[in-house]
């Protein structure tokens, strides 16, 4: 049991002490400082308060686990009707890098219908074994049958870590599996590393703000992490296939579902901001909806697409799928030009891997300038029209 204890007699300045907590979890009640339910156990009061004022008390030993009983880095093969999502390859590349550090194998788990030959293709990317759960009842994604197959895989193979793409399927399946094994799951990791003791080092933006958190799962296995598309690098395809495909026995897998898929309708093909080579992004510095015309014009001239930040979704100027950031899409274009975007971590998490970042903002202190390769301190209303005119002149010439 881990508890946070406040020793009031050691608090020198009550008001200063209470202010340490960013979550307002310290309050004065019945004449003493107490911790309320807002506490997130971030331990800032322990570290920043007077010595001994706040302390962590552990009443009993933490239950430890035998980490050596869990071996291998596994990747969930994300697909729709057998067409493998490219995030899978990116995760295989990362899994190989992590596995090499601790001398573990790389596995894939592939659940679907008629997918054995597609599993063979994965052997060109550095996988030691692809475990295939192939059955007609896996034709469409259904949470209960897929979780059952995943459970069977974990029980038999016991991988130490599992990487799942943060797709519409992965975001449902990974939590379901994590809860079944009562283990940790870290969403939307932007950096992954591994320690010699097989603890996965997971880094992601935290508390919805301008902070990064390093998260470990020290006393539970397997360790689950989701990663978005275009965050990691995809490996090159090897001409030669290595490793093998194992078709798994289904006798312990539940194939009956409480979910009946009635129909699957293809969505009309549309332009996704994830696929654009050039993006021009509108932020709150754009004052009216009409002013978006120049953003669109610049994007058209550069053969790119337009995206936006969260406030512009909230004002109804754009559809949700045009939003970059933690609550929107992750993009990695060759060129991104942000116009009037301040650059919260929330936003940056969705675009900081772009190859060339140009930021236009009036405020030289805007956080976007910390990540922009070329920061332009100026008024977008003065710069964009001039830039557009120049490009037009160049193209006309």
């Amino acid at each position: 049991m881990v508890r946070l204890v406040i020793n009031n007699e050691k608090i020198t300045d009550r008001d200063a002490f209470i202010k340490i907590c960013p979550f307002n979890a310290l309050e004065i009640k019945d004449g003493a400082v107490k911790v309320n339910g807002s506490c997130r156990m971030c331990r800032l009061c322990v570290r920043k308060g007077p010595d001994g004022a706040a302390e962590i008390v552990e009443d009993q030993e933490v239950k430890t686990i035998d980490k050596s009983a869990w071996k291998g880095i596994a990747v969930y093969v994300d697909h729709e009707d057998g067409i493998i999502h490219p995030v899978t390859l990116e995760l295989i590349g990362k899994a190989r890098e992590l596995a090499n550090k601790i001398r573990h194998p790389v596995y894939c788990i592939f659940i679907g219908a008629g997918i054995v030959d597609k599993a063979e293709e994965l052997l060109h990317y550095g996988v030691d074994n692809v475990y295939v759960y192939d059955h007609e009842s896996f034709r469409h994604f259904r949470i209960d049958t897929y979780t059952s197959a995943f459970e069977d895989f974990i029980k038999n193979i016991r991988p130490t870590a599992i990487l799942v793409g943060a797709t519409n399927v992965g975001r449902q399946l990974a939590p379901r599996v994590a809860a079944r094994f009562r283990t940790g799951l870290t969403a939307d990791c932007t950096v992954l590393d591994i320690k010699e003791n097989t603890d996965l080092v997971q880094i992601r933006p935290a508390f919805g703000g301008n902070i990064m958190a390093e998260i470990h799962t020290p006393n539970a296995r397997p360790q689950l992490a989701t990663v978005r598309y275009k965050v990691m690098n995809a490996p090159e395809r090897n001409a030669e296939a290595k490793g093998k495909v194992t078709v798994c026995d289904l006798s312990n897998v539940i194939l009956n579902s409480d979910i009946e898929v009635i129909d699957v309708v293809p969505k009309p093909k549309e332009k996704f901001i994830e696929n654009a080579d050039v993006l021009v992004v509108a932020g709150r510095g754009v004052k009216s909806k009409e002013d978006l015309n120049m953003i669109h014009e610049l994007a058209d001239l550069l053969g790119g697409d337009v995206a936006c930040t969260r406030p512009l979704i909230e004002s109804g100027w754009f559809e949700a799928k045009k939003q970059i950031g933690l609550s929107g899409r992750t993009v990695r274009p060759k060129l991104i030009i942000t116009c009037g975007v301040s650059g919260s971590v929330q936003f940056a998490a969705g675009m900081s891997n772009s190859e060339m970042i140009v930021a236009i903002n009036k405020d030289e202190k805007a956080p976007i300038f910390k990540i922009a390769h070329y920061g332009i301190v100026g008024d977008l209303y003065e710069i964009l029209p001039r830039l557009i005119a120049k490009i037009k002149a160049e193209k006309g010439a």
């Binding site: 800032l44 949470i143 379901r176 809860a179 390093e214 920061g375």
Partner: protein, 264 residues
């Protein structure tokens, strides 16, 4: 056919302006005001529409400090019938697993239900994982990314699930959990009349001692397999240039740079 619906809601900070002081490493949070997670409004609206069509009750459940009663009042003003707040220091420091487990225990206290509705994600955690984990603990089927309710039949609900390239139309047996997309319905505004009428309505506060599972190791920090090792400000980009000049000069420089990199 009356449906019993539970909606999960969360109180989140009104603003996301959080920064780490690079020198002291202390978190700074601007403003203390908080609000209902905006994505939850869509789940609540969905529940209210279902109730209006099919009859039944809408209960809201939340976990958090006592201040979170404020968002339950807001839900009452939108039309929710009952509210439950799970609040106890023992729930503090909960990660996704412990949060989902606590909520699943709270739901057991809320009585029989047909449907649990969740928003897509919260604006302070952004993980979108609590819904599916709760469903696992309750051993009920779940569907995320629900963008439309097609129909409600006896003992089941048919919905459209948004996938990357397709839309899956699926029928799920009750009881089940759905996470709904933003834009499934336009949320209504809280009504002043309802707010007045419900100002004395009870909010049931449940603490640890009222839950069925009394194993403290499953709640709060103790029940959280993930641990935050450290927090730090994001690393700035190393190779960067800041240009401050007249608009003409800036447009010139930017044009040359874009051309040099062959984007024109």
């Amino acid at each position: 056919m009356g449906m019993n619906i539970i909606v999960c809601i969360k109180q989140v900070p009104g603003s996301n302006k959080v920064e780490v002081d690079p020198v002291t490493g202390v978190l700074k949070r601007d403003g203390v005001e908080s609000k209902m997670n905006p994505y939850d409004l869509y789940a609540l609206e969905t529940a209210l529409r279902l109730k209006e069509t099919y009859g039944g009750t809408v209960k809201v459940i939340s976990m958090g400090p006592l201040q979170a009663m404020q968002i339950i009042r807001e839900a009452y003003a939108m039309g929710a019938d009952e509210g439950i707040l799970l609040s106890d220091r023992k729930f503090a420091g909960a990660d996704v697993l412990a949060t989902s487990y606590t909520l699943s225990q709270g739901v057991r206290e809320a009585g029989e239900f047909d449907l649990i509705l969740c928003g897509k994600q919260t604006t302070d955690g952004d993980t979108a994982q609590v819904g599916p984990e709760m469903a696992e603990f309750l051993k009920i089927p779940s569907v995320s990314n629900v963008r439309r309710i097609v129909s409600v039949e006896d003992g089941a609900i048919t919905v459209e699930m948004d996938m990357a390239n397709t839309v899956e139309i699926a029928r799920i047996k009750f009881p089940c959990l759905l996470s709904v997309e933003k834009d499934i319905f336009m949320p209504r505004l809280p009504s002043y009349v309802k707010m007045r009428a419900t100002k004395d309505r009870e909010i049931k506060v449940i603490d640890f001692s009222s839950l069925e599972d009394q194993d403290e190791m499953k709640y709060g920090l103790n029940g959280s397999p993930t641990q935050v090792q450290r927090i730090f400000p994001p690393e700035p980009n190393i190779k960067r240039e800041l240009w401050d000049d007249s608009a003409d000069e800036l447009a010139d420089k930017l044009f040359s740079k874009i051309k040099e990199c062959k984007f024109i």
